[in-house]
């Protein structure tokens, strides 16, 4: 029973939602909507749970006196303060301040930092990388040049070539990948609905 109940819940809830999406009988719509909303609430709860898990992990690490406790306390303090401001003063200027002046610069600069990491990686792949990686980089550099220099001022062929590359071989290749992903995701989803995969249980 303890094992059967979650499997039944997953199968039933999934079937209702899938039937609503495919056949859309009017009588099923309210139930499907209810399940969707429940699922949305649970997704938010999962995010809260994960955040709590993060806080507890680092809190316990500090209590045990593990290395990097100083950094961990910064993390914990930042987490608690941000969450506190967010819950106590939703939509306030204070929360926006945290977002604009703490979150944004670090996040955006981290991505900018990837430029340096990327150039390092390109150097390394050139030096020691496998043959395929070198071909990948070579192709990418050619495509990048096409993007950058696609100017009618140089030659009207360049923009046409850029557009052809993107709209014929790349589109067709990406379409093949997307069709594959669609098949894979459908199979993996059906495995969950049919109870072949039961990752939600403690077995």
């Amino acid at each position: 029973m303890r094992r059967l109940l979650p499997v039944a819940v997953a199968a039933l809830a999934g079937t209702v939602v899938l039937l609503d999406m495919v056949l859309a009988p009017a009588w099923l719509a309210p139930l499907a909507r209810l399940l969707l909303e429940t699922s949305l609430v649970l997704a938010a709860a999962a995010l809260l749970f994960a955040t709590g898990h993060l806080a507890v992990t680092h809190g316990a690490g500090i209590a045990r006196g593990e290395p990097e406790s100083g950094y961990r306390s910064v993390l914990l303090a930042a987490l608690l303060i941000t969450f506190g401001i967010g819950v106590a003063l939703p939509g306030s200027a204070a929360l926006s301040w945290v977002f604009r002046y703490l979150y944004t610069p670090i996040q955006a600069t981290m991505l900018g930092l990837m430029t340096f990491v990327l150039v390092d990686a390109v150097y390394r792949a050139g030096r020691l990388g496998p043959r395929g990686a070198r071909i990948l980089i070579g192709l990418a550099l050619v495509l990048l040049l096409l993007q950058v220099a696609a100017s009618d001022a140089i030659s009207s062929l360049l923009p046409a070539l850029r557009d052809w590359m993107l709209s014929v071989p790349v589109t067709a290749g990406a379409r093949g990948i997307l069709l594959g992903v669609a098949l894979g995701a459908t199979a993996a989803g059906l495995r969950v609905l049919l109870g072949i995969d039961r990752p939600y249980t403690v077995e």
Binding site: A121, L190, V192, L194, Y200
Partner: protein, 278 residues
């Protein structure tokens, strides 16, 4: 030729003459989806039954799935863990991908639990975190072990994709690794992983559903190798290769659907080119 628009390359519309068949497929999307499901579900059930009755078939080699068992074994000998870095793209997706990621962790934690070794996990995916906690608990209980081997064996890295980069930098300073498995939907943080993983001296395996991440991991792996996990579909196949032979049935069903799809497209194209279907 109905449906044919004036040729001209543009992102904003088709350059090639779409067949009348294509147009009617779009017009009857709901029916097409229903037909696809009516074909797929029985095929999947049929092959799963065949597999549970003992059918086994050789599969295309996928490097990470082949290496993982050996690496897990080596890890139980050396005591240096195999670490999983799971990324979820968007933070709270609870779909097939979360299930696929959970399967991978389930395998590694089952292997490690046999020798009471840790199975560290770093993830940005809250649902994968919850599923991994289930796996870890179940696998360790089977061997009468405590809930986890290390206090922060499973760690949430914060929901922002780039936060994973921060978490793995911290993780890499913790000690030696046997291998690092990168799985899920990666974006820029994949590059950080690719750049950081060599610092640990451990080989890195990757399987991602998002080709954008695969482009970045391709900088160290050989994208031309016939065994590298292909971006996309391959991520979902881990279970069949590792420890869930029953899911082999779904791969065989997928293969049938794939060739059916190809056959339909080829026939429709031939008919269209011969002037039918208008």
């Amino acid at each position: 030729m109905p449906g044919a628009r004036p040729p001209g390359l543009s992102h904003a519309g088709k350059a090639h003459a779409v067949s009348g068949y294509g147009a009617s497929l779009i017009a009857n999307s709901d029916t097409a989806v229903l037909v696809a499901l009516i074909l797929f579900v029985p095929l999947l059930i049929f092959f799963t039954l065949r597999v549970s009755a003992g059918l086994r078939t050789p599969l295309r080699t996928i490097a990470p799935w082949r290496a993982l068992p050996h690496l897990s074994q080596r890890s139980t000998e050396t005591g240096e863990p195999v670490v999983l870095w799971l990324a979820g793209g968007l933070q709270d997706a609870a779909g097939p991908e979360a299930a696929a990621l959970a399967t991978l962790y389930d395998y590694v934690s089952a292997q490690q639990a046999r020798a009471d070794q840790p199975a560290p996990l770093r993830t940005t995916h809250p649902v994968a975190l919850l599923l991994a906690m289930n796996s870890l608990q179940g696998n360790r209980e089977r061997h009468q072990l405590g809930a986890s081997q290390q206090p922060d064996e499973i760690c949430f890295a914060g929901p922002a994709p780039l936060a994973l980069a921060s978490a793995i930098s911290a993780d890499l300073r913790q000690g030696k690794r046997t291998a690092i498995l990168l799985a899920g939907s990666f974006e820029a943080e994949a590059l950080w992983c690719v750049a950081s993983a060599p610092l640990s001296g451990a080989p890195m395996l990757s399987a991602t559903a998002d080709p954008a991440g695969a482009a970045l991991t391709g900088l160290t792996e050989d994208p031309l190798s016939g065994e590298r996990a292909l971006p996309g579909e391959d991520l979902f196949s881990g279970g069949a290769y590792l420890h869930r032979p029953l899911t082999l049935g779904s791969l065989l069903a997928e293969d049938w659907m794939r060739w059916l799809l190809i056959a339909i497209i080829v026939i429709a194209v031939l008919l269209t080119s011969a002037g039918y279907g208008g």
